[in-house]
Symmetry: none
Subunit: 204 residues, 4 copies
DNA sequence: AATTAATCGAGACGGTACGTCGGGTCTTATG
DNA sequence: CATAAGACCCGACGTACCGTCTCGATTAATT
C-alpha cells in the first residue's frame, strides 16, 4: 500500500511519463469506483475516463486492486483537526472531518476497499489498515494535545474511544449511504456532537 | 431484501420447485464466497457445488448479487442474547454474539455485501440495512429488558450506545480479518468486556 | 419418415389424444421453420404456436428432427397433374404445381429440410428423399400417360428429364426466394413453359 | 457476401490482426462443420481447433452463420473449366468440376448455407446467390468460347441450359449425399456425360 | 359409482452453447 | 523509451433451448 506507482529507478532515456497521468488516473479510478461499485469498476472505463491507454496503466500498476489501493492511498487525508482548545472540541472537529471524508467518493471507496481487502492474503490484505491508519493518525494528534493540556485518560480508554468513534461513524455512513439522500453540513454537525457527547460521558 | 427467492405468488401449475434446492444453493453460495472471495465467486461453481443447473439459479434470482444477498439474509441470526440479569451482562453477551457472527463466513459475507450494496440503487441497496437490522433487533430486546428492570436511560442514549457498540465491533472485526489470524473465545470475551465497559461509562 | 406419430400399439384406456393436435403441430412446425429457419426453430415456439404443452409433443415424437420430418411428410402433395392430352402439357402442369409447392411455406420448408437432413446419418438422412419422391411420383404418372399415348422415349431419357426439370425448378426457386419478391402466376407459367420447351428440345 | 471479415477501413494503430488467424478459422470452421454437421458445429470448438480465443472470432464476425458463410465464400472455387475444344467437352468438364465441388465439405456447406440464407433478409440473404454465381461464372466462360467457335445458340437457350445443368447436379448431389456412400470419379464422369448429352439434345 | 390409465397444460430441472464483456498481455505506429 | 490504440487468450456472465421430469387436472374404458 505504501508503494508508489513508479518504482522505476532513475533511467532518463526515452519519452518521459506524462506528468498529469497519475493524478488523472487516481481521480478516474475513484470516480468510477464510487459511481459503479466494485463489480462495475473496469480498467477500460478508467482508461477511457482518464484519456489514457490501458497499457499505460499496466506499466505503472500490477493490477486493478493495486491501482485502486494506490488511488485511495493518494487521496488519504492527513486530517489534522484544528486545535479548538478542548478535547471535546477537537473530537467533534475530527468526527466532522471523518464524516465528510467517508461521504465523499474517495473516502467511501476507501471504506469499501478496506472491507474487500480484508479477505485477501498479504500483502494486499494489509490495505484494510489504511482505514484504521487514517483515523489513528488524527487521533494521535488529538490525544497528544489533550495530554499536554492535562485532560488525561488511560491509554486503554483512548483506544476504546477511538474504536467507538470510528465505528459509529462507519455504521452511520453505511446507513446514510443506503438511503441515497444528500446530507447537510448541519446534520453532520449534529451527529458529530451527539456522538462525541456520548463517547465522552458514556451511558452514565 | 426481505424478498424470498420465489416471488411467484399462487400458481400451482407446472412442476414444483425442487424443495431442497434453495437451501443447498445458499449453502454453496456462502461456501464459495467464503473460500474464494468476491472475485473468485462464480455462478458455475455455485451451481456445480449445489448439484444444480445454472438455469435453475437464474429462475430464482436475477443475478449473482441477488443470490448472495438472499443467501446471507437466510443465514441471518436472530441473535437474542440470553437474559443475564443485568444490562451490562446482556450487552456483553450481545457483543460476543455479534463478534462471533462477523468472524464466521456467513456473517463476514453479510458485512462485505452490505458495504457493496450501499452503492447500488434500490431495492438492492436496502440490503445494507440487514446488517443494521440484525443489530437493532438484538438491541431492542436488551433495551426492553433494561427498562423493565428500571435501568433507565434516554432513548437517544440507547441509540448512541447501539451505534458505538455496533461500530466498534465492525471496526475491530475489520482489523482482525486483515491480520488473518485465528481469534480465541477468550480474546473475544476480553474485547467485549472492554468495549461494554467503555460505552457504559464513557471517558468519564 | 414413413413413421407415423403414434406408434403406440393398441391400448384404448386413458384419455385419448386430442384430435386436432397433430395437425396444428404440423402446421406450427412448418410455419416456424419457414419463418425462422433451422437455427431459429425451437420446440417451445412450436408448442406455443400450436397452443399445446411441450410434453404433448414429446409424447408423440422422439425429438425435434422427427417432428419436423413427419410434418413435412404429412404435407407432401400427391401432385397428380391433370391429363392435358399431351406430354408437353402434362409436364408444364407438373412444373407449375411444383413451382407453387416450393414457393409456399410447407414446400419451401420441405426443400430446406431435405438439404439439412442430407448431412445427418440414417435414418433421418433418408428424409432427403421425400423431396425426390414427391417429384418421382408425379413424373411416374406423366410418363405412364405418355407411354399409353405412344409418345415414347427411353427410360434413361425420362430419368434425365426428371432430374433436369426438378433441378431447374429448385434452382429457380432458390433464386426467387433470395430476392424476397412476390411471384405472379403468370411468371410461373412463363417459366414453366420456357423450361419444358428447353428440356423437351434441348439445345438442338 | 462479398464482405471480407475486416470492414475496418484504414486505421493503422493498435496491434494488427494476427495474419494467419482468418485462414485458420476458415479451415477450422469447415472441418468442424464437415465432421459434426450443423447441430454439432460450435464456436468454442472452432476457436479451440484454430487455437484462437472466442472473442477473436466475434471481433471479426457477427455470429456463427456469418463466419460459416465467409468460410465457404473464401473456399469458393473459380472453376474455369479447361478448354476441350468443343462445347460439349467444356460442359462435361464444368459438370464434373461442379459435382466434385458439391461433394466436398466446402461445396456442400455452400449449398446448405445458400438454402438457409434465402430465408433471411438482406444483406445476408444475398448469400444465396453465391451458389448461382459460382455456376454463372463458369458458364460465362464456356458460353464465350462456344460463341467464338461459332457453336451458337440463343441467349435464352443458354440460360435454360445453365439452370438445368446446375439444377440437375444439385438434385443428384442431394440424392447422393442422402445415401452416405462414396462416389467414384467414374460414376461422376458417367453422370456428367449423361446429363450433358441430355441437355444438349433434349428429349428429341 | 369407483377405479384405473392415459393425455393434457404448465413449467422447473440439469445441461450445453450462445454471444458479450472484462482482465491482463502483447504488438504495432506515433511521440 | 513511453504512449494510444486496440487485438489477443481466457474465462465468467446471463440467456435460450433441449429433452426430461413432475405436478394437478381432465377424460374414457374398465371394474
Amino acid at each position: 500500500v505504501s508503494e508508489t506507482a513508479s518504482p522505476r529507478p532513475s533511467s532518463r532515456r526515452g519519452r518521459p511519463r506524462t506528468p498529469g497521468a497519475e493524478d488523472r488516473l487516481f481521480q478516474a479510478a475513484l470516480e468510477e469506483y464510487g459511481e459503479r461499485g466494485w463489480s462495475g469498476f473496469t480498467m477500460d472505463a478508467v482508461a477511457r475516463r482518464a484519456g489514457v491507454g490501458k497499457s499505460t496503466i499496466y506499466l505503472r500498476w500490477r493490477d486493478k486492486d493495486t491501482l485502486l489501493a494506490d488511488a485511495v492511498e493518494a487521496r488519504r487525508p492527513n486530517a489534522q483537526p484544528m486545535d479548538t482548545g478542548t478535547l471535546r472540541g477537537d473530537l467533534e472537529q475530527l468526527t466532522i472531518n471523518l464524516f465528510h471524508f467517508y461521504l465523499e467518493p474517495a473516502g467511501w471507496a476507501t471504506l469499501r476497499i478496506a472491507v474487500d481487502a480484508a479477505s485477501y492474503p498479504e500483502p494486499l490484505g494489509r490495505f484494510a489498515d489504511v482505514v484504521a491508519d487514517v483515523h489513528r493518525d488524527a487521533m494521535a494528534v488529538v490525544t497528544a494535545r489533550a495530554t499536554e493540556r492535562g485532560e488525561r485518560a488511560g491509554e486503554a480508554a483512548f483506544t476504546q474511544l477511538s474504536l467507538s468513534l470510528h465505528g459509529s461513524i462507519t455504521v452511520q455512513v453505511l446507513n446514510l449511504r443506503s438511503q441515497h439522500r444528500p446530507v447537510s453540513d448541519e446534520e453532520i454537525a449534529d451527529r458529530a456532537a451527539a456522538l462525541v457527547a456520548f463517547v465522552t460521558t458514556g451511558l452514565s
